[in-house]
Amino acid sequence: MASLWQYANPQKFLAVSRAVLPFVAGGAAICLVVGLVWGFFFTPDDYKQGSTVKIIYLHVPAALMAINAWLMMLVASLIWLVRRHHVSALAAKAAAPIGITMTVIALVTGAIWGEPMWGTYWAWDPRLTSFLILFLFYLGYSALWQAIESPDAAADLTSVLCMVGSVFAILSRYAVNFWNQGLHQGASLSLDKEENVSDVFYLPLLVCIAGFILLFVALVLLRTQTEIRQRQLKALEARERMA
């Protein structure tokens, strides 16, 4: 009986991910090019925000992926702690740099967008502040991976950190909400139609989000492959030294 867990075998994962990767990467490229070109060249300016509304196609997907990357790391860490699948731990490790990049993109595009709209690059707004805290969590997580030599201990400790960090990240989110009122607008995407951005911007935004998600998946697959090979490489090198 085929089960999801068979992909926890590193060789099986390598084979499958190698087969899947070109399609995911291709899909990501297509969605990103279509979404960004559509958004950049063929959407009107917003009556209030002018042409800066075009930044939404970068800002919102990046912010979304910054949070989802952490969620994915949390799930992967839990799988590692419960079922001890090495691929899972390595996938969490592989996702962290991508999450960092997405967080930086969200922060920087937000700052550039904030300057003409709010008259300031940075405000201690709850959303902005929690993203900065999220960024610090990512930095700590990556630093811990790099600092520990034993791969299993590193995987265990980072997983524990990821779980504790998630709780504190949520706590911080509510704490900063309490601490300051925001400039940031509400959710751009929600099930409540009233809140949404208008349709002209909505469709290209969805395409861009799909592109960012596919890009994230493609990069995680690629980086996890690299981590698995790196692990094999280390093992073979160690064996050579012993011989």
Partner: protein, 218 residues
């Protein structure tokens, strides 16, 4: 477990750094701030709660590596891990000893330093109350960070990076207590949240810290 608590206390005292070091750091920080921002009392009294809270945070952070590092080096942590008391209890006791040697002196010193920063009289008791409730959480979170990094040679800097983001909620609510207290606003809700954070941290983090220690002792 109680014996362990007193052992840690005695060790901290005998090392000399126990009460003194964190406290001196706290003092120096409060002395340096007016040099940085100027001696105007109206500015200082506004930022005083924040400075004192951040100072407490940093003073607490400075002494964290002491919680496990020495016992890890001389092997007594291995003995404690195999001892008949649960490792979670060991963690909690060590965090408690850390709080008594660093957190408690800070609480006592804070009003004096508040005078240096022109903290208003009404705010002082809220500052003390907030520190009493909040600093135990700092010690426990710190014990978790120390547990994660105990096996590392240069763990100090890494530990600050790991621990400081975890201090954010405590800091926010702790400073909020003083701010609201000084303005005469309703404080009970904030104090309750702050207590909830501390209690939750003490209830849950010993398990995470003990898990991290077991991994490091493997």
């Amino acid at each position: 477990m109680i014996a362990l608590f007193w052992r840690d206390m005695r060790l901290a005292m005998r090392a000399g750094g126990g009460f003194g070091l964190g406290l001196s750091f706290f003092l120096i920080l409060t002395v340096l701030v007016p040099f940085g921002v100027g001696p105007q009392s109206e500015i200082l009294s506004v930022i005083a709660p924040g400075i004192l809270w951040v100072g407490a945070l940093l003073a607490c952070l400075l002494s964290l590596d002491r919680i496990f590092a020495l016992d890890f080096e001389d092997g007594s942590l291995d003995l404690l891990a195999t001892a008949p008391i649960p490792l979670e209890g060991v963690v909690a006791m060590k965090a408690a000893a850390h709080w008594v040697t660093t957190g408690l002196p800070l609480v006592i010193a804070a009003p004096v330093l508040g005078v240096l920063l022109h903290l208003e009289g009404g705010a002082v008791r809220w500052l003390i109350l907030g520190l009493i409730i909040g600093t135990p959480a700092l010690s426990m979170i710190g014990a978790f960070g120390a547990g994660l990094t105990v096996g590392l040679k240069r763990g100090g800097l890494l530990m600050s990076l790991l621990v400081l983001p975890l201090y954010v909620p405590t800091l926010i609510f702790g400073a909020e207590v003083v701010k609201r207290g000084a303005l005469g606003m309703e404080v009970q809700g904030v104090i309750l949240i702050l207590s909830a954070i501390t209690l939750a941290v003490w209830a849950l983090l010993p398990f995470a810290a003990a898990a991290a220690l077991r991994i490091n002792l493997r």
